[in-house]
């Protein structure tokens, strides 16, 4: 087969690189020649981008067959390119759902493992990797092996949250959970400031399986951290409307918006409006699962809103030990630098992930969407320095600006353990990405 042509590959934040992309149904065959797997390209930064344009990457999205499904236990095995949206379309009407879902359904199972994704139920269900029972992989020496918590466990735990750097994930086995309906009982509540937010999240965590908050990042002083807390639980079959929710029309942003559209003023207006939308202190009701879990999936290619320079999402976790004022200190770094985040999300984490490099740990996470401008590097540096002081860390699936020295200080001995897995399974560093070269040096 001919070499695929060189094209521009990009992450969701529109950060891009030139490279060759292999794509096809036959992952086993194609993975022999590829240096990294990528799925639907929803990691924001450079995790799925090639380190070198001569090193082809393998797009897995046509490898999407379900190989086994046990209706009793919910155990499912599928090829790594199966998307969550397809899985939901097929199995939600039958009462099954992934135990952990990120905020978009346009992700592949392989990507969910590689980033060890978390969702609104992190405080209860942990990360996606906590529910994975086995992986089939092509490793550095070219062989194909099966790994699990029992078998080649170092490879298994290195791969969960390992950003594809331990080998190609060919098949994923995990356990789905039962759901009573495709509808969610949602409550939302206005929150005055960042301290109240953390109390509210902590309290909601004991009652609700799904929680998250939206913060108006431009509010300062006593209003800093004001926003809306959203909580949800599955609607029981007798509370839910009798028919499943309909997939409405999903408009698409056809063109890139010019970069001046998102400026301090429009971002402020959006955030103010969004906050005012919740004009009652509390509201509740039954909504479709998709509008609760995947609100942004309603507009396809919404990333074009940020223009050709794109955007970055800065997501960090601040450990519980850092105390409750740590979130305020990080937000202050953003506001004092005049950084305007279009969208800011806050969520509490309940437990550490199982992967060597899994992102979550008990504490609070903040995710800030920031349009890329000339000063973005300086902003990320300043945020990272603050996060380092708090003892926190960043989420690789979102990152494209962190410096290697910052990353190394955040990860410490976890990085040594990850390097040991790579040394054992891929000593020649066949598997690498633009991100691994930037943050790990190889």
């Amino acid at each position: 087969m001919a070499e695929p042509p060189i094209s521009t590959l990009s992450g969701w934040g529109r950060h891009s690189a030139r490279g060759r992309e292999l794509i096809g149904e036959d992952l086993e065959g194609l993975s022999e020649r590829a240096h990294l797997s990528r799925g639907l390209g929803r990691s924001y930064g450079d995790s799925s981008l090639p380190a070198d344009q001569q090193e082809p990457v393998l797009n897995t999205r046509f490898a999407d067959r379900i190989l086994h499904f046990d209706e009793e236990s919910g155990a499912l095995r599928a090829e790594a390119g199966l998307s969550l949206s397809e899985l939901n379309r097929l199995l939600m009407p039958r009462g099954y759902f992934t135990p952990v879902s990120p905020g978009t359904s346009f992700v592949t199972l392989g990507g969910m493992v590689a980033a060890d994704v978390h969702g609104k139920n992190q405080h209860r269900a942990g990360n996606f990797g906590d529910h994975v029972t086995a992986l089939r992989m092509r490793v550095g020496d070219g062989s194909i092996i099966e790994c699990s918590p029992q078998e080649h466990s170092d490879l298994f735990f290195g791969t969960i949250g390992g950003m594809g750097l331990t080998g190609h994930i060919l098949e994923v086995e995990f356990v789905l959970r039962r759901i009573p309906s495709e509808w969610v009982w949602q409550e939302s509540r206005r929150i005055q400031d960042i301290d109240e937010f953390q109390d509210a999240l902590e309290e909601a965590a004991t009652e609700w399986p799904y929680t998250m908050g939206w913060i108006d990042c431009l509010a300062r002083g006593k209003n800093m951290g004001r926003g809306i807390l959203m909580t949800g639980d599955w609607a029981e079959a007798d509370e839910a409307p009798p028919t499943p929710p309909k997939q409405g029309f999903r408009p698409s942003l056809r063109f890139e918006w010019p970069s001046w559209v998102l400026n301090g003023l429009t971002i402020r207006a959006f955030n103010e409006l969004y906050y005012r939308k919740q004009w009652r202190r509390e509201s509740q009701g039954i909504v479709s699962h998709a509008s609760f879990t995947y609100p942004l999936d309603a507009i396809r290619s919404w990333n074009r809103m940020y223009g050709h320079r794109g955007f970055t999402q800065y997501q960090c976790v601040l450990p519980r030990e850092a105390g409750r004022s740590s979130a305020r200190r990080v937000l202050e770094v953003l506001t004092t630098r005049g950084g305007a985040s279009f969208l800011c999300v806050i969520k509490d984490f309940g437990r550490e992930g199982r992967g060597v490099l899994s992102f979550p740990r008990p504490g609070i996470t903040l995710a800030l969407d920031v349009a890329v401008r000339d000063d973005t590097q300086a902003l990320v540096d300043a945020l990272n320095e603050q996060v380092l002081r708090e003892g926190g860390r960043i989420y690789l699936a979102k990152d494209s600006f962190t410096r290697r020295e910052h990353f190394e200080s955040m990860e410490g001995e976890r990085l040594d353990r990850f390097r040991a897995v790579r040394d054992r399974w891929d000593p020649e560093r066949r598997f690498r990405s633009a991100q691994s070269v930037r943050l790990l040096g190889d």
Partner: protein, 245 residues
């Protein structure tokens, strides 16, 4: 419906087979790689919520296997209502011009062998008293065009053959469906820059399924390609010589 399907493991065929399984059709997959067929069968059984899916070996490069394979499919399905063929090969004009062996193989598989397969399917369906033969041709066969001269020639021949088959056997209860996909994002077109109106396999599958149910003889997918090709067919030769499309 009881469906024998050559090409259900990949691309548009995979999407169509899934839609069929999901609505309860009984499928028999034909193909040359038993392991790959079995993986697709497992997937289709789950899509169909425990649907019945059979597998029968058949190689589009070996015409001598066609009659036995279709007979075996009929046996496994205990009847035969629909035969679908979406298998085939694709190569760009540049690749074909550089490789005479590949050209010969593509013309043989996409034209000669596909027709021979349809002949075998036609006989089996007529023996059942009628049914549907659904074959994937292409908009590439609508007009001689610079980027798809050889591939388009094979597909043009296939389209004409299917048209004749429809004329001759429509009265016998044989519905012949000619599918003419435009640019669809599959592994076959990977690496080619997608034009506007590029389609997704599942969208094609839904249109084809409706055409099979209604007995629509010709189906363009995505639908915009019907109009696009009408324009292309109307363009004067002098213009076709100048444009690259």
């Amino acid at each position: 419906m009881r469906v024998a399907f050559l090409g259900a493991t990949k691309g548009m065929g995979r999407a169509l087979a899934r839609r069929m399984a999901e609505r309860g059709d009984v499928l028999c997959l034909l193909g040359r790689n038993p392991e790959d067929l079995e993986r697709s069968a497992a997937d289709l059984r789950i899509h169909g919520g425990g649907a019945e899916v059979h597998c029968v070996p058949c190689d589009l490069e070996k015409p001598e296997t066609f009659s036995t394979a279709i007979a075996a499919a009929r046996e496994a399905l205990d009847g035969l209502h629909v035969v679908v063929i979406s298998a085939g090969i694709f190569a760009t004009q540049d690749e074909l011009e550089a490789d005479a062996e590949l050209t010969e193989r593509l013309l043989r598989v996409d034209f000669t062998n596909t027709l021979l397969f349809c002949e075998a399917a036609k006989k089996a369906l007529l023996k059942e008293g009628g049914g549907t033969l659904c074959a994937f041709s292409s908009v590439a066969g609508e007009r001689g065009r610079k980027p798809v001269i050889l591939y388009g020639a094979a597909k043009a021949g296939l389209t004409r053959y299917l048209e004749g088959l429809d004329h001759k056997h429509s009265a016998d209860g044989l519905h012949v469906i000619t599918v003419k996909p435009g640019f669809v994002k599959t592994s076959m077109t990977a690496g080619l820059p997608p034009p506007p109106f590029a389609g997704e396999p599942d969208g094609v599958a839904l249109r084809v399924l409706r055409a099979i149910d209604r007995g629509t003889p010709v189906v363009y997918a995505p639908s915009a390609w019907r109009l696009i090709m009408a324009v292309i067919r109307a363009l004067p030769r002098a213009l076709m010589r100048r444009i690259g499309f």
